[in-house]
Amino acid sequence: MSADSEILGSALPARPPAGASRAVSGASPDTSEPVATDLGAPTSQGVFGAAPKTTRGGACAPQKRVSGKKLFVWPPSTDALLWRIVRPVGMAALFLTAWGLAVRWSGSDLFPTPGNVARGIVELIQKGLLFKYIVASLFRVSWGFTLAVIIGVPLGLVLGWYSRAFQALNPFIQILRPISPIAWIPLAILWFGVSDAAPIFLIFLASVFPITVSSIAAVQNMQPVYLRAALNFGLSTGELFRQVIFRACLPQIITGIRIALGVAWLVVVAAEMIAVNSGLGYLIIDARNAGKRYDLVVAGMVMIGLIGLVLDLLVRQLEKFDEVRWGYGRK
């Protein structure tokens, strides 16, 4: 070790001029950490020479350290993309063929073939019913679900934070939670009659509990260091909730919302079978009652599945925002 090899602090107390400061003291913020060294410069190249994806602001996303031959390749090769499509599509084709053959060989005239179902869907489109029923179902889900989010998230955050309120209300929530929304149908009809309000109420009941419970858990499991930092900066209670507690819990809240939306979609179909006369649930019951149209029954089921898938994909997009991505482990 030479006499001037490691010098701590500057002889001049003043900060070096702005231009020089980085060159002198910050050329490499962290000497040993590769992420920090070259700002925004590509640190690895895809196999095809494509520039790696950089995140906003020119910061390099943490690069996977690679050893030996195996390189992290971006964009994925076209082969991989192709397979991602071929596998599920091939599987679906196989399934539809097997279904068609099974119906034909058994000689059943009750159960429809995939072709019958497809024609059923076309028929529904032509009569203008499909679109109308989808809108009716989505309308009910939107209302019930939005109400559940508006009430469940703040309620959960407050109960998670104030332990006395939690003690008072938690048993109540835990007793109501396991009661299936279906069990509420008689009461819902009694209170709201045959109107949109009944299924909206049921959807609200179905989704408010998962949302509330996941929000409570999120607050209770919050890392204490964020709270202490917030207290240190002198936040008011309102600021604490909006700027720290809510933000820290958002990843878990979104997970709760995803689960709740799935349940809401299950319930709307059940509710529409009983309490109203439109929507995809009504379509299924109506098709059976009015002439055993099982092709339309299965058509309704297919639409319910497809829309459920789309809803889940939409909520999943929320998990990709920078403000919450940190909460889902390593991407």
Partner: protein, 256 residues
Amino acid sequence: MTAVSIRNVSMRFAGKKNGDSIRVLENIDAEVAHGEFVCIVGPSGCGKSTLLNIVAGFLKATSGDVLVEGEPVIAPDPRRIFVFQENGVFPWLNVHENVGFGLRKQTRAQRDQTIARYIDMVSLAGFENAYPHELSGGMRQRVEIARALAANPDIIYMDEPFGALDFLTRLKMRADLVRIWQSEKKTILFVTHDIEEAVQLADRVLVMSNRPATIQEVVDVDLPRPRHLDSPGYLEKRDRIFKVMGMSLRVGETAT
């Protein structure tokens, strides 16, 4: 003139069994002057974090008082910012927003100017829009230091802020911290278990004993800055603290 005075502070935690109690701090007395850089060293688990949390108002001492500017400390205060052992940067805010967190009362123009100044000071220019999970550990710690400085506190409390970093990064961060302290003229109370770190940084080092911790010795590190890590003065201070802590300088020898 004293910025912080710790008067006869003791701390016990409730133990596992009823009525059982763990004595962590025992009659701690210390003072920190305005603009002074004071390090507290002690073995792991001796109560350093506990003491700093009491001083910052996050914990209440079992007995004794902490005064800042003559006023007793009862709660955390934005005039004294804490830099946490387990990085307290908010993962949902980007670097720019994190550094500006303590500036909510300023106008936007003022705030942007302050943020830019401190991001530059910790050499993170160009990373304003990056999120903490996209940064290395050392960079996240810089963000937290910038956030603390930007709030313009009188005192900064630091609890092993470089503990999770590797050797070279740590060395670099220390040099930067001293440079910033010299230009910003803050009072710093810095906790570490690393004796070398304490001697490199501090004006004075408070050496704590094992639990229940007392302040065993106060070592004045009256060495000019920049400090040379192989100068006789540096080695003498370092060896003194090693000795107080009952450690041998020869690896392989049992502690005395």
